[in-house]
Symmetry: C2
Subunit: 368 residues, 2 copies
DNA sequence: CTGTTAGCGCGTTCAG
DNA sequence: CTGAACGCGCTAACAG
């Protein structure tokens, strides 16, 4: 029912091959026939069948973007930047360019390893041109090997892979042939950022600092916690492992986890003078809980977040946090997955993080 | 290079058709052969070629989701909900169901009509199973007719269309045949919500209320402004058109527009006792500007937003706003676009909005 | 219940 | 520069 290449060819009085050639512009075609073909295309409102094209040419217009949840600003910002880079101008008023642009298939994994594998299969089905995996990896279980296997297969079949905000996968470093070059990583310096953040609190004079961590099995959680503890250790405040664990509560990367964790920390250690949260969203929950307990921020207790999400500057009080250039990272991931930018040395680029000191942290009270 | 149906068939000692049948489960196949086929599939790590399948069966696994920008929580929340509904369990740990799930192609239009049309063409290329258009429509130019035309074609070719947070398109109401049933709308009661919000301010005693509107050509902007003015009119405060316009400033739906607009309003009318913003993000900008001018919220001036985005409850002070159940709306749009829910009467459902009174609004100062 | 035969719509040889 | 023929990988009739 839909108009096909053949219909256009018939109307233009040429063969289907010729129509294909003018449409793809990769072959010499006489100006007059090109005119005729284009007019026929226009008359018939012809739109190529992407599936047929993909099948015949063994190419795909799709790029997968795996995120925990696009509704989370952290992932939304990355996904948006990736989409902007791969669209190749479809989002520009100037019109549709040759066809260099690709479509972003956004997949919410909810942080579930199984969902991640499911989506990778689905993307393999679609013979995706590339896949961007965002957010921390789930460590410890056999999951990482399973993912590595799937990614290796995708890479082998020509799909470009970019890990964004996730550590490199060692198993993928030595793939045969060109496949090794098609796996790239844009990592975040979570460890360094976390360390500088805690150093900032220590410099203010804090000595009893609670830590609200994310899920234990996430690489992001681990790196941030390591940075935090490295700062403590350098200040000679490491304490025993039991002591460290007493001031650490794990939860999810959401507001209510922060709320609950803050109350738990206060229960464990009423003398707390500062709380570092896994990220800004968690920090908001922490702030809410502390305020409800009658504590003023930062006069009675300091709070810090991570990521520097857009809302953090408007929180009450403005959140001290660690900025990750998420848009830049996402854009870079987008360019890499499109092959529009040379891969960084070793396939690994690490984006810097920046300490943002705002109003939610201050020196502890004299009495504390 | 990739393993194909034929390879599986060969290994299992059956014909390609049989393999296809067990994979799709739509045809009776003997238990023993099914076993053999499934083992061959497993041995060879076979993954169907979605393009070939789509071409042969004239179906598609893709659903387009057009948003202004996924990084904006308003759109992120909707997109997330849509994707959750259409995934059909791919995001569940239980594994991949038959193949009922579809992939979400997220397109950032940046609010540009041309980009919207470009993406609709791209989605037509992919023979998308459905398209969800979110956010307000751009009115006034020839754009709406152009979009209507494209949507009509998509609908005619079997693509289901859902407008989410956008008014129904009249031109699409009387399409021939089943096409009319495949265009549905999930509208937001922007007008009613805006009216109740302003009524709330009037009840508090405010009489000089500034309004920071979105871009003039957006349907969302228009509806919210209409609601606001309807409330003023009912209270006998309509004033002359010139007077209304003096207290209205248009900008984008972002923070910096709110910031600038607040300063402009203050310049035009220093006696302002309240400001209503186009949405929560804009409201944050308004708050920031007012605070910098030394005004306390709500003691010196009240501020209200719209949408009730997640961060609004944690803003300083917590924002009075109008809640739109974005997740619910997105989920509903997802179900409709999948055909998993019966279309509402007349193809139009309007989701209610709810006034959320929080700390950013209060009675004006006695002296004001 | 299973194999055989045709296409789905397009890109790409290979001749002309 | 253009047309004819073939095949991409799979599903859907049609027989058996």
């Amino acid at each position: 029912m839909a108009v096909t290449l053949a219909d256009v060819a018939a109307r233009a009085g040429v063969s289907a091959a010729t129509v294909s050639r003018v449409l793809n512009g990769n072959y010499p075609v006489a100006g007059s026939t090109r005119e005729r073909v284009l007019r026929a295309v226009d008359d018939l409102d012809y739109v190529v069948n992407g599936h047929a094209r993909a099948l015949a040419a063994a190419t795909s217009d799709l790029v997968g973007v795996l995120v925990n949840d696009v509704a989370d600003p952290f992932f939304g910002l990355i996904a948006s930047a990736v989409q902007g880079e791969i669209s190749g101008g479809a989002d520009q008023p100037s019109g549709l360019p040759a066809g260099a642009g690709k479509l972003a298939v956004v997949c919410n994994t909810g942080g579930s390893p199984e969902a991640e594998l499911n989506y990778l299969t689905l993307l393999e089905r679609q013979r995706a041109a590339g896949v961007v995996l965002t957010g921390g990896a789930v460590e410890g279980t056999g999951h990482s090997t399973a993912v590595a296997g799937r990614l290796a297969r995708l890479a082998a079949s020509g799909t470009r892979i970019v890990l964004c905000g996730r550590p490199p996968v060692p198993e993928l470093a030595d793939l045969p042939g060109a496949a090794a070059d098609s796996v790239m990583t844009v990592a975040f310096d979570n460890r360094g950022g976390a360390q500088r953040l805690t150093e900032h609190l220590l410099a203010l004079g804090h000595r009893t600092i609670g830590y609200v961590a994310g899920p234990a099995e996430r690489s992001t959680t681990r790196h941030r916690l390591e940075g935090h503890r490295a700062a403590l250790a350098e200040a000679g405040l490491a304490g025993s492992p039991a002591e460290l664990d007493r001031l650490t509560v794990h939860g999810y990367y959401d507001r209510s986890s922060g709320y609950d964790a803050a109350l738990e920390l206060l229960r464990r250690e009423p003398g707390l003078t500062a709380v570092v949260a896994a990220n800004d969203t968690v920090a908001l929950g922490v702030c809410a809980a502390l305020r409800e307990r009658g504590l003023r921020i930062p006069e009675d207790i300091s709070v810090a977040g991570f990521d520097d999400l857009p809302f953090s500057v408007d929180a009450a009080p403005a959140l001290t946090t660690v900025r990750i250039p998420l848009q830049e990272a996402g854009a870079r991931a987008g360019r890499l997955v499109m092959g529009r930018q040379a891969p960084p040395p070793g396939g690994l680029a690490t984006v810097r993080t920046e300490l943002m000191v705002r109003a939610s942290t201050a020196a502890p009270r004299k009495g504390a």
